[in-house]
Symmetry: D2
Amino acid sequence: MSRKIVIGVMGPGDNASGADLLNAEKLGGLIARKQWTTLTGARQMGVMQAALKGAKQAGGETLGILPGKDINDAAEDADIVILTGMGSGRNIINVLSSDVVVACGMEAGTASEVSLAIKEKKPVILMTHNDAAKVFFKGLAPQLVSVADTPEETIAQIEKILLAKKDRSHV
Amino acid sequence: MSRKIVIGVMGPGDNASGADLLNAEKLGGLIARKQWTTLTGARQMGVMQAALKGAKQAGGETLGILPGKDINDAAEDADIVILTGMGSGRNIINVLSSDVVVACGMEAGTASEVSLAIKEKKPVILMTHNDAAKVFFKGLAPQLVSVADTPEETIAQIEKILLAKKDRSHV
Amino acid sequence: MSRKIVIGVMGPGDNASGADLLNAEKLGGLIARKQWTTLTGARQMGVMQAALKGAKQAGGETLGILPGKDINDAAEDADIVILTGMGSGRNIINVLSSDVVVACGMEAGTASEVSLAIKEKKPVILMTHNDAAKVFFKGLAPQLVSVADTPEETIAQIEKILLAKKDRSHV
Amino acid sequence: MSRKIVIGVMGPGDNASGADLLNAEKLGGLIARKQWTTLTGARQMGVMQAALKGAKQAGGETLGILPGKDINDAAEDADIVILTGMGSGRNIINVLSSDVVVACGMEAGTASEVSLAIKEKKPVILMTHNDAAKVFFKGLAPQLVSVADTPEETIAQIEKILLAKKDRSHV
């Protein structure tokens, strides 16, 4: 068995900023180069779309968990689409299925995924200009939440997290 | 038809503070006196249990949405228990089924419910000493999120919200 | 604590027969007279609507688990509406939240609820003219599935099931 | 975009017969040779495990939707594991994410997936010795449900279904 490492990239759909979109696309590409799978919420918009596009262009594997049940709503760059028909109820699945959760930007849906990740003891990396989010989530779970300014820094932190996890499982 | 108004009271389970518990129990009682139904996450602990207890002691109706599927895990004061077997996946149901969502205290699960409430355009009232939460969530959705210091103040804000909603539906 | 017994009445929405609708309404009324709560899938159509109407007219308590997230889609006679936004994903919740599951008529959604009830070891009563359903489901789980021809017979079987359950919990 | 076709193979976990297991493993292999992705319920037992094993051995891609949230419960041959934490609530996701649903054997969980597939208008192929299942489900939805005796016959029927689907989308 050689199960793939899955990195969940969460972020705004409708209201993603230009910086969020650039970060997401770059991050997807860097995840792909590490041979990790990129997971997003699968919609054909915002950070979800951009991260999958970046991953796909770099030859990576992509996975999307769709809120609806119509495959035509899925981002083109999702190799595999899971259809849930559960709306925002699918956010818990995004989180549980990721080894590390990255918030690329911040809005209410993203905040729910960061919160659920903490609840489920998943490591979270915040790449956002929303300083209040950093203060709040780091206050909730200082050991699970870290902050990164760039996609490259995010990748470095994911590597550190995965290494620590591997060390623990060898004890 | 005279459908009941449902007030969702969210808050910490294991790590509720003494103040959170007192607030939750008092709030449940005040909700009951308004003839509203109290909804919580149904577990026999923390804010979930305290709010249902307060509501029940004041003769109110109570409703719990359980993460598990064993009725024996449900708080005694829940008149009606919905068993989901969906773990934290049930948080979206807590939110969608409430007319107003009150956060009584703050931890990761509560944060996910506040976030999902904002995502679903539900009004939220924060009754917590976590100042970072207030800054963050009010920043995300200034028009949906308000802050209250006491159960009495929370009730006053719920009344204001319900009145505004009624006015809109009459237009 | 005096938790209510919940009887789930499942059945066709769009394609309910006249006999199904009459049976559902009568059954809801008989459930109410036993002081049990009637649970259905909450939609304003078919067996869901008829059972809630019968229960309400007999002064009973009613509970609906809605597939969508718009309260306006709920049957008028549902006292309490749980909004899931999960589509047919809510069928498992219908089943887990019921002490006994009654199929009043039969179509695909109903069949999924009967199947899930068996999977979760819930007692099921089939009140349907679909003989193939009776043969199939009784074959899957002879000890959980029984058959009734009328609402009165269904009530008699529910009483027997609840009595046996009570006896077991006293051992 | 070249999205993969996903074939869902459903069947007993604990109580799979020897014939079910042989059929599932062979079917997984044949699905792989067609370059389709094999989807199952991801558990390390029964038909779920056997179908993934057959697919993997033939060099295919595999996908599992786990009821729990512990990756260690997943079948070794699942390349990608979606963790839901929703128990049997994940059955709707199995169905929605598959282009065609195959029942390899029959028990309550499988019956729920066949029922949900019909509800969601997905084509279903029954490969089972349970004759009552065939009568019942074909009666429910003669146009969606077909029957096959062997893995080879199942593959032939999937091809026919996919061809008809392609024709319709070209109209």
